[in-house]
Symmetry: D3
Subunit: 316 residues, 6 copies
């Protein structure tokens, strides 16, 4: 069995050096990012056998995505398309949350938007212990929405734990469409990760985090709901059965905020996968997020040992 | 009066360091390139007042193009579009003509492809001494073809010298379409630059360079025809009236072949602009090309003094 | 009409990477800086048509200054001198206000110090809406003092708004000489920017900022006085007629303190130019300064949109 | 079945920038190299499913080796040892064969030298179509010699093609010991690659290349012998049955000679694996070597398409 | 007379850029570090004539160590060994005390571990005003322990001030062995520097810093004891005779914590050398440490002027 | 005794990366160069105890010069002046002899131009076995001419070998002045190095190299004359007594031509110092020059072993 299968898009992101801007920088660092590839990389860092499924143009750019993810220890299952049949998404990102930080995305006509169920290796999907998709993926195209619906249902039927993260910020959906989309997808979801701002924007569940979590757990009948926080210094909240768990973040300097949320998700799913309870898994997520925060790039780099050490340091 | 007005597309090009590949490089150098912007930069280097007209998305990427060209001394006349109404073309280029050099272009839906005559500042066009367009521009879209036809005709009527370079290699046109396209455009052209491989591919004029030039001069009734050579060590040939001029290239190490042809064109047009004869202008072109060859990036950097010194060195 | 004309010196500044020192760094980043060129760059960023006038040696270094400023959107009006008739000022600067930050300036015999009224394009000057000079310029040489006197008077007669910034710190003048110099120049000045430390050092106006501003406004009969603060977290104060405006700074990490004051001035003058009141113009200045603070180099990079977003973020 | 299994050591190699020396360089580029990992990377580039088996210390350095090889598309089967039970070999290499090029190796007590048959995953070995080891591996320690003997015999019994490359240069063995070692190992070898200098040094087979190849083929009863050449412009020679094949190298600038020989071997084995004859496989090897030559680092980067294009270019 | 002689090991340390990890960084910066070489570099920065004695392999790596220390103004007295008779220690260090900072040391079989009294130039030792060794040196090998014992005794007999810093953290000694080792060495020591964590670990002297210092001063009969603090914001404490001095640290951003403690020691010993009292020397140490903190690398770079300016800034 | 004492100026040289220009490069590499410091560095590389004497401003730039030379193994004897009493010469150099290579020098008012005999440590001078000065030094100022005259005479009286290199190209002297200057200085010179172009320009000795050498040897009564060649592929010629020696250059790629001539001189003087005959010393010079040619920067880096290996390679 594969520990974790994620399905989605990866973007090749180009960033000027710290303190320089897209308009004038002489060089750009290249990093591969995407919610599902970031989650897979975080899980691989924690020792899981993680597979990322996607569709890419058969160019040096497409091969780069695969090479970078392999380096992070992620196995890849990619359908290659002709360069003319779909682009690789690119983005130009000023890293570090400074006054003038700018991102220019260039995501139209990406190959992944035409990914149908025929592009998903059924055996890999059925053999997964956990399957993860993020909210931006079904929002990318009607085709991807159908594919996502299908794959959550197939995975669920095959007995996998289905995990879903509602984050859809970058997609530019309006709240009503997003809600409709989630209503269509969340039936088969066991683990729901939702940011408090999404909860407010999409469901109108503002105010306290715990009742928000309960409403969502009831609405979609998920086993586990995790509410992440807009303010990165606030505790994340996990709900399972009648229990509520709050875990504050681990302190770490923020060198690059990209992918920190995804590292949390990957760490949390890894904790659950090795049998940890919700609180311990939230701690794994929080420490993986702290590790990511200090690293430039979208995916976390390191080993489970680093995560354990971050946790141990707080306990001293 | 403006010395030179060029109209066309610029692409933001990302290149790995020498000896590294797109698939694995950690950083990419960014350069702005395009036949018409390169020609304008070469002319500005030679001291001309050069203006580049185009259409760009109003993003940090679009502003970068303008900033880079300004740095090269080119004035810009840009119609800004909404980021959603057109992309900036990007390309990923391994510089240096080595065994495995690869280019991935990403040019669909560029803002410039919707540039109509309404996007061209008529005053600037009518005020130009020389107007230049390259063959790839009308090949980009039907709209651009119509715009090119219109602007050559307007410039011609206003008394400008119209210069055209047939190079269409990267556009992927078939020869028949290219020929049709040139037949539609070249009526108003005074100075025609054609590479011997284009001549062969499009017109079937293989074999000797001089008869090739004469055939084209007759066919399109151009005052001046310049035939550039596939083999960069061969002499370029200029024809005007009954005269034939051959000018061998200046020796220089090739650090980056990008834009060398355009530097030649810019140098040649500059020579003509200051009143030099064909031979002297070809020499200006050849020396500007030699200077470019040694510089990384698509546009030449320097001053007319550098070009004069390269010429003087050969004469010693 | 030109929106803003500035006249002064630019220095080519070489900086080791963060955390390295002049004594051991292997590479140095090059940036062009100078109060008037920084102000012009900030104004161009805000969308103004800004021109910088100066005198430079006709070398690759001099041309670099022009190229860098053009990239920032500044038009340049430069008198070129022979390389033997004046240097380009250079400086070696450890950026970031750390324990051991060191600057070595190398400014003797700069070409600009011999700039006379004959070196100033009279048409450009007379056509300006606003003219700006900083306090270091007249302090550089007797010739520059005379030229400054002349150009403020000419601009004033032509109906331009004359703006002057007293900062003279780096010039090493004593307070008495500075005062004498300002007394000679400030007759024609409409907008006076003064730092509270200068006010104390030169005029002995210590203590409260508001009376300090009033004293200066009375002394020199300026329409508008802006007092900037030694402590970058204190509010700047603007005085016009009987009104007093205080605007606190916008929060931003300081990656490079160079040119932050000049960005403020450029932003403020831009605000006034588009008709904003003093308070709003001070806000434009403060947000432009915040943007600069996060960028490495002497001049701000970006667009008015960045400034507006910084302002909007605080209001949320 | 796995297409290719290689077993051996990888070294983390640090190189100063071109034109700088170990003694003064401020930064060093890091690359992973080793005959067997390079061969596996070349085979993966050609589309094979390649596995590299080794023993590494469980440190960030050891994990880096695995990450880099994965990025090259190589699967890894690594036995992890405690950091105290064996080092990772390092080397400091001035790339580019210039006057003063220096290499400092630091290879004592490498973890791989204690690799026994218990450290080899038997299933992987038995499932291989081709197994490859280089001459330096058995020369590293008595333990590794025994392990090599054992694995060639196991692979041979399981029906795999066994390939061996005699290169032992860097190990510092004397010729007699090397011969003894080869005599012990080559019984099970089907494909023998030998450089003409090794042939001369170890077997005293100087002079013509073809008789040299025949002598070795007879001596060790190998199906195929390939003799590579000291002078990189000479043709390589392949012998199989009574046939002799000579394939000249493809032209390419040499940016980094490291790993060029290994790229040849990987390309050749890939050709054989997909059923090509000796001549065509030698051409695959030669084109893969040409591709490597232009790339900085020990392993080739690219795809089979690059190799095909290099071959096609010569045929035009 | 030589002002300061230090004896010990230097390590060549490779560090990825900030925010990158050993596992994925493309380049590594190289720095030479070691307690005794860092102390010598700090003393040279303060204007002392400082000599570092050691044993190095005669390779480009060994020569690099000498070159780097010379650049810091340190004179070197090195016994060169054959490359086979001992390595240069290397280490791979992620600088900046972030969540996942990792160090991989590779120090076995270093040439310095075989340094005997025959490898120490007796004249240089006898001619020293102050001799310094750190605690890690005698802990490296029995040979080095004997050599350290001998050289402290020789220096003491020759009238030098003997200084010793107990820090042994990186050596991995247990407390009992460390105590035994110090008991053997500290007889001849005049100036003892001890960190409060070492004091606790080795001597069980927890709790208040002042009684800890007194206990050690009594135990080893040292003239001067300096207790440094685990928390870098706490004051260091010096004891001499009946006097107690506390000096708080100077504020400075920490860009690289490596070598900060050694810079303190070098600054303190420099202060004593020029005749300053304990308090003033502690201030010199603290300001030198502050300067180091802002610089990337193991050794401080600058001049005494920088240290004086850091001190003056606080007094304003 | 000191093996070699050189006296002269060093310049801090800033160079853009290969293929970039002063006008647009983002970063510049810094190197210290000067005929006498380069000769000292080459001699130190060859194992000599070499001292460089000069006068520098007491700034971070001046200290950098000393640090860089120390790193090259050169001891320095520097008189420090106030920053206001003289600059450090800077130069901006495009390395690599390409089409548009440009150098901008900025050498006015250098501190060294006021160096009098009082600034020369008499003991060091009298204790030298060989003293070297280059032709540009006395050409810098009347003061330096007098100082050079004095020091050659003092060194000669003290029994040192006096070596002089006529190269004065960069100083811009006319030939007549240069000749006058040499006539004043060469009385005390034992070893004269002259380039054939200087010989032609200054003495009118064109044509064959051997008679040229003899004429100079006779004219100035020097024991040894070495004539270097304009064309770097021609043999250098040495004359001593009646003997003539011709030594062809060693082959090596030219990465940076700066300082190659000086490396030759340093290698030659080193050969003579260890007692080698003229031919062998010329070979030492030629191999040191070849080593330098491959290294970026003005001074050679390496060890005598590298030079010996370059020589051995040719003999194989």
């Amino acid at each position: 069995m594969t520990d974790l299968v994620t399905v989605g898009e990866a973007t090749l992101r180009f960033s000027p050096p710290r303190g320089e801007r897209i308009e004038t920088a002489g060089t750009f660092a290249a990093h591969v990012g995407g919610p599902e590839s970031n989650v897979a990389a975080a899980a691989a860092t924690m020792g899981l056998d993680a597979v990322w499924l996607s569709k890419l143009p058969d160019t040096a750019l497409g091969r780069r995505v695969v090479g970078d993810l392999r380096r992070h220890g992620v196995r890849t299952g990619v359908v290659w398309t002709d360069a003319d049949d779909g682009r690789l998404s690119t983005a130009f990102v000023e890293r570090g949350g400074t006054a003038g930080a700018t991102t220019v995305t260039d995501r139209d006509d990406a190959a992944v938007t035409t990914m149908t169920e025929d592009d998903v290796p059924l055996g890999v999907l059925r053999d997964a212990e956990t399957v993860f998709v993020g909210g931006a993926t079904p929002a990318r195209s009607e085709t991807l929405l159908e594919t996502t619906e299908w794959l959550l249902s197939v995975a669920s039927d095959a007995g996998a734990t289905c995990a879903f993260d509602t984050r859809f910020g970058a997609t530019g959906l309006d709240a009503a469409t997003a809600r409709e989309l989630y209503d269509r997808l969340l039936d088969d979801v066991d683990v729901l990760i939702v940011d408090e701002t999404d909860a407010e924007a999409v469901y109108g569940l503002d105010g306290d985090v715990v009742p928000t979590g309960h409403s969502l757990r009831t609405r979609y009948d998920c086993e586990t709901v995790v509410v992440t926080r807009e303010d990165p210094t606030h505790a994340v909240v996990g709900l399972e059965g009648e229990s509520i768990y709050e875990v504050p973040p681990y302190e770490a300097d923020t060198r690059d905020p990209a992918g920190v949320h995804d590292a949390f998700v990957g760490g949390f799913l890894s904790g659950r996968h090795r049998g940890a309870g919700v609180r311990e898994a939230l701690r794994d997520g929080a420490a993986t997020a702290a590790l990511k925060r200090t690293i430039v790039g979208d995916a976390v780099v390191g080993s489970r040992r680093d995560v354990v050490e971050i946790q141990a340091r707080r306990e001293r």
